[in-house]
């Protein structure tokens, strides 16, 4: 039997009996729906929240009904400016021909109430102007000499779903592949030194490259299992809850599925090799954690770029940067339901090269004498 296969089977058996790794995968399955539920609840609450407008003076005819219909509750106050500091979300003084608005921009509730008030006042002004023109026998259409007619090229609902998925899916995929395999990688490298089993393992006639291959294979499988569990639970959760901007349930575009599976394999292989190499440097599990943890922050950063710059359109050179390239390719597949083969090829080569380099590094570390003498 091939030594790599023997090591692979043994490592997987140990992982299945390891509470730490199983708990990490279980938590991944629970945490993803929980995060989605919280996002859904917060967004629903924000959308339906009623804000209080403290006012003085006489409210223009018809405006009160419009404000209340938009979730702005009116409350008479003596001094709107003072009330807007804490007592109410927004202060408004209705003066003849003028409305003075008081709000604290550091309060989120004040910001939302302000946007709602501005929107309503805009619509109210337009309606008043149109009515006045009509009464004077003038066509209100002169207020909009150029009429804008929108023709969305894709469903706005699907676009909102895709925007959410384009950030959330790569994020979950990368973090789960990384964290899911952490424990197994450290147990398989630093753990061998800590348990003092490494020497016995290296004394077997099996070539060291095969031993390492078996270990990397097992860690890759564990990482992928964690990602599958997390993404599976995410999609199950998405059938039960709706997210901001999306009235129907979120679905993944057909092009994104094979791209995601392919990239997940490459990322898992790369991460397994990197974390095994770092774990081999460590003398024990705790030291290994210290070495591997920064990797988490380094890899999360590219995923976050999509959040902050959703329309980031890089040239091909950016696809050489591991992880960032996977995030970009996955984003394009999700948002546009299409794949740039050139970008995918560069990304695949980059991730394969990262994995191969890490594999060689791990092999070098795994065969150095210092592993046993220090």
């Amino acid at each position: 039997m091939n030594a790599a296969w023997i090591v692979f089977q043994k490592e997987l058996m140990e992982v299945l009996r390891d509470r730490r790794t199983m708990m990490a995968i279980g938590l991944a399955a629970l945490a993803t729906p929980l995060v989605l539920f919280v996002i859904s609840e917060v967004s629903t609450q924000t959308a339906t929240q009623t804000y209080t407008v403290g006012y003085s003076g006489e409210i223009p005819t018809g405006l009160a009904i419009l404000l209340q219909a938009t979730g702005l509750k009116l409350k008479a106050v003596a001094d709107p400016a003072a009330a807007a500091v804490k007592q109410v979300d927004l202060g408004v003084a209705f003066l003849p021909g003028e409305i003075d608005e008081y709000y604290d921009p550091t309060r989120q509730s004040a910001q939302i109430a302000d946007v709602r008030l501005q929107t309503i006042l805009g619509q109210y002004d337009a309606a008043q102007a149109a009515a006045a023109l009509k009464n004077s026998g003038i066509d209100p259409g002169i207020l909009t000499p150029i009429k804008l007619v929108g023709h969305p090229l894709s469903s706005p609902v699907q676009a909102a779903s895709n925007a959410f998925l384009s950030f959330f899916l790569p994020y979950i995929l990368i973090t789960m592949i990384l964290t899911g395999g952490f424990s197994a990688a450290l147990d398989s490298s630093a753990g061998e030194r800590e348990r003092r089993t490494l020497e016995s393992l290296l004394l077997t006639p099996a070539p060291r490259s095969r031993l390492l291959l078996g270990k990397i294979g097992a860690i890759t499988v564990v990482s992928l299992a964690a990602a599958v569990v997390a993404i599976g639970s995410m999609f199950v959760a998405l059938t039960q809850i709706s997210l901001p901007g999306s009235s129907s349930h979120i679905t993944l575009s057909p092009a994104a599925v094979p791209v995601m599976v392919w990239l997940a394999l490459l990322i898992a292989f790369s991460f397994s090799s990197v974390s095994l190499a770092l774990g081999t440097l460590a003398k024990n599990f705790r030291q290994g954690q210290a070495y591997v943890t920064p990797l988490y922050f380094i890899t999360i950063l590219p995923a976050s770029i999509i959040l902050f710059i959703p329309d980031f359109n890089p040239n091909l050179a950016y696809y050489l940067i591991p992880i960032l390239n996977a995030v970009l390719v996955l984003r394009d597949a999700i948002v546009h339901n299409s794949v740039s083969w050139m970008a995918l090829t560069v990304t695949s080569l980059s991730l394969l090269a990262t994995g191969a380099l890490s594999w060689f590094a791990a092999l070098r570390l795994f065969t150095r004498e210092a592993l046993l003498t220090k």
Binding site: M1, A3, I6, V7, K10, M13, E14, R17, D18, R195, R196, T197, L198, E199, S200, L201, L202, L203, T204, P205, A206, P207, E369, L372, T373
Partner: protein, 240 residues
Amino acid sequence: MTDAAVAVERLEKTLGKNRVLQGISFEAKPGEIFGLLGPNGAGKTTTLRIICTLLSRDAGTVKVEGFDTTTEPQEVRRRIGVVTADIGVYPRLSARENIEYFAKLCGLMDGELTRKVDAVIERLDMGSFAKQRAESLSSGQKQKVAIARAIVHDPEVLMFDEPTSNLDVLASKEVREFMVEAKGRGKCVIFSTHVMHDAERLCDRMAILHHGLIVASGPTEQVRGTERDLESAFLALVEA
């Protein structure tokens, strides 16, 4: 052509700035227990690690059953079994699974695998705890697992590096008995220790290492010489 199972000639090794071995030579033969004695830091463990291919040598030659440790390391590893003081076992595997894992990596398969694992479990009287996870075993039981996995492929050369230093009296006795039994079956046993009493009782021949040099070697009686016991002879040698 020598009949030695292990032949070490002018072996040198430096670790960092420390010249651990300074040209040592000895031979260990089948059917004998060869003692490698010396105080801590004398170079015993380094010598054994070079013999079993874990470390490379800087100069000299080391052969196991005629195979060179540098050019044919895999052939050497097929022919050796090593038991160390550090009892490292996989805690989440049972005693039997631990043995099977190493047996498979040594190339045993199917019927031969089962037969040899069963045989070694019976020989070391491990039947009562073979299915228990290693994490729940005592130190003595773990040491038996370590011995079992080192001998399951029936190697010609067995190396014991301070095998009893972490064990209680009963477990130590069993390890010593095992070494004698292995010698009786024609195996070459190399026993590294700083416990002179054990060495005197068990070893047929020995080499005393001090600061990376062999300061005495030969049959146990010859090394002891006119001193009252081996410990006195050893002290006289290293303090000289």
